[in-house]
Symmetry: C2
Amino acid sequence: MNEVHRVCVRYHAAIELIGARWTGAILRALFTGHHRYAQIKSSVPGLSDTMLAERLRTLEAEEIVERRVIASTPVQVEYHLTEKGLDLEVVLDAVKAWSHKWIPLPGDEEPVGAAQGAGEAGGD
Amino acid sequence: MNEVHRVCVRYHAAIELIGARWTGAILRALFTGHHRYAQIKSSVPGLSDTMLAERLRTLEAEEIVERRVIASTPVQVEYHLTEKGLDLEVVLDAVKAWSHKWIPLPGDEEPVGAAQGAGEAGGD
């Protein structure tokens, strides 16, 4: 395998991992302090149980998310970003900045103007 | 629709647009000066004609890529990033930096060490 291809593969794997359907939104939920399954689910409208469970498994396997079992009664499970996961903050912030500049809000004509007043405090 | 959801939708749309299979690699090809169809195709190993054509159509529809027809003989077609597309550089650079730190090269055990000597000049 040539070097260009080998390096390309790495970038490719990263962007598709992060861009997988729902993964970006789940990561954003974790970054904004949602750690329990139900909290994550309710912070991502439209996300099904099957999909959330599947994505969390993948993120765990990739060592981006760590599953913590807290020995309480009843036992609690929390999902936290690992160091590898926390390092994605730069990427997610860049995506957020770009989307706020360029993607129109549903129902709006212009991407920039309407966004400023309405949704910035929304915590996406 | 509540405000959180409306804003979330925007971020969501952006990350899934960029993360769609092959799109990240195609954008990287455009950023590194590949403008003709055949150049883009050959710079992304494994990318089929169907998929490249489909992705370019989507990127054009999203106004991230502009299709230029050059009146020569024979007529030439080039694909260029628009202002919206060029603004993605920050996102792609962040993904690249993260992937170089955290994603192992195929066949290597450690992500960081081996990468330095081998592939950095590969121009991914």
